[in-house]
Symmetry: C3
């Protein structure tokens, strides 16, 4: 155990992450994505590399139906055309009717009015998970005017209170991305230190993680694991693959290529040996005791 | 001859494929694509690697005109927004008026109502070729409720009757993709065993083949080869490039990169040495004789 | 000095290009792109590799506001849906109100009526820079019916008069891409011989340069360099990175990957040692003198 990078308290969630990755590979979750035009190809390639089955169904008249048959759904607001906004509302309704788990990624809200209003409508539909950088999470919680685009201008810890509040109010798992990712269901808080700065130099590095969360949520539902576990597992797996890719890369171009290779190559056992995760709740308790 | 992977009966079509690839490189066919947002960049890169000239013109008011001046046209229904649906109907009319050969790729029809209805309208315009996986071809023929997205849930042979029926009814060449590709004009049937499973791990692996078929159809028209030859040649060439790329790849990311390199590098002579194609009609006749 | 590839007269602009690249890296310009669906992912990746901050905001209701806060703006007409056309007009107004420098890329105008009319409306808003191939620049100047798509069918020198005329009429810097790029503000003319043919085998090779110009224009404004310098610097830097990538590539797929790596790796000092640029104005004067 001494060579593990995570404390004993995080052992259960790592074990569940390993089971979940195995499950995704054995029974590829059909993952419905309504995502932005910039990253839609990369997102589909990430899902295929993971072992999931992507379906980018984002038009009116098909999205509600499809969200009902999919295993997981992502609604990402990166380029929210009127057609995509209407399709997103359809899909959220379809997901609700069939209890399909879904992820809301409120890209660049705060400064930009159309998507901010749209994100507000969607979050009221109680997404299973919400994923964003600190600026976006703060903006969604009404605690900030938002960042200046898709880059984070606040640190994940700065959004910890906002994340807990959103999680409690909407019954969602909230994931705040950054150098150390923070994930909470309003009670427990996981911090994940895996990843590499190169992931921020590839467009869709964050957006595609939302899709992987949707895939893992779909698989988790089948094997009775919690949304908190699914979102945490997706993040640990994804950021470990990023680390492995960075070790082989000579820049952002070769990193993106290696990342897809590593998403496909990373095994459950790799999670065990590389996860750097901390369960804040337990850590705090242990600190109180000692 | 003994080191060839195809029987003597397939020799004429391989020779024509070699001529056609040479022609594409010498006189790049202007290839008009109305395709889905997920794969549009990859598709353009595939066409550029092949040696064709891509043009992704998919708005109302330009598509009819452009289909008239292009050498070949692809209409792919992967993300059929209202604008793209209207542009697709325009383009089909423009192609008909100028006898521009065109390919219909009815992505994910069957389960999804908007695109299924749209595919029905388009197929009535008698596309030069129809390309899909077995589920899509069965759905277009009215013989199945469709798959669960873009992945094939039926084998190409399961769609052989549907393919022949569609070919006869609409005067189209029908190509069913799968581990063994099946191509028919309603009378002759070619089976192609080239390719690699990694092609299914890259988004657009199938969709971009539709664009290559449109390019080859354009070139074939200029040098008086049949649509059946053009679609078969495009498939043989494309899947041989995939095999060569797979031999160098360490996962889906590096495969996609190597695939573009190999599409550019594969020569007519490479087709001769690597084609694994069978002419079922002849094979059957030879079997009767022997 | 004898090992430099540019004449003494181009020394000032190369020195400014070096300063500008340094500035882009130190204070990443927020670069607002309204660009076509084919290249939007590649363009964002290029900007990230350069060191800029991309934001692909292309919907109505957000574009005017965002063009006001961005450091630079690109409006590219590659796939001009009605939504993008309206958003483009909004953005041009927002840029004008805040003096945000912006680039117009009139992709494939001339032959295609909707975008030709739209380009005409936009150019009247006096873009800071106009970027296109020779066919597009000729068409925008009303001197040609345009090319047959995004490929240049005319040489940059054939568009030199059109470029000077557009520059004078609209107060824009005009950049004509080709084997030798030509850049003019109506008085001075730079010719740049860097680059590689492989850049034309990757979709977005030209379009993404427009985005880099927008980023450099944003940075140039902050450090009080001229738009002519910004556009020239962007072109020199971009085409040098292309040369370096081509030296490592085995085809168009590996070239695109290496290009992103080299955009990130190329330093100001590399510009000094690799720039092949000529100041025609000075060259002509020197010729008169000698």
């Amino acid at each position: 155990m001494s060579d593990l990078l995570y404390p004993p308290s995080a052992q259960p969630v790592v074990a569940e992450a390993m089971r979940l990755l195995k499950s995704v590979r054995e029974a590829p979750p059909l993952t419905h994505c309504i995502t932005n035009a910039v990253v839609t190809g990369f997102t589909a390639n990430v899902l295929l590399a993971v072992g999931a089955a992507p379906a980018m169904v984002d038009i009116v008249g098909e999205s509600e139906l499809f969200a009902g048959v999919a295993n997981g759904l992502l609604i990402n607001l990166g380029t929210p055309t009127p057609e995509q906004r209407a399709a997103g509302l359809e899909a959220a309704a379809g997901a609700a009717a069939s209890a399909t788990p879904w992820v809301l990624d409120p890209v660049a809200i705060g400064a930009l009015p159309v998507r901010t209003a749209h994100a507000q409508r969607l979050v009221e539909q109680r997404p299973t998970a919400i994923r964003g950088n600190a600026s976006e999470i703060l903006a969604l919680a009404g605690m900030s005017a938002g960042g200046r685009g898709v880059d984070a201008t606040d640190s994940p810890d700065a959004a910890a209170d906002a994340a807990r509040m959103l999680a409690t109010r909407y019954g969602s798992v909230v994931a705040v991305s950054g150098p150390i990712d923070l994930i909470t269901d309003g009670e427990r808080v996981f911090r994940i230190a895996n990843g590499d700065e190169l992931l921020t130099r590839v467009t869709g590095g964050g957006c595609a993680l939302g899709a992987v969360m949707a895939a893992f949520l779909g698989a988790a539902r089948s094997i009775h694991l919690s949304p908190l576990t699914a979102v945490t597992a997706a993040t640990v797996y994804y950021t470990i693959a990023a680390e492995r890719a960075a070790a082989r890369a000579t820049g952002p171009g070769s990193f993106a290529v290696a990342f897809l290779d590593e998403l496909a190559a990373t095994t459950p056992a790799d999670l065990d040996s590389a996860a750097r995760i901390e369960d804040e709740t337990t850590a705090r308790v242990e600190m109180d005791v000692s």
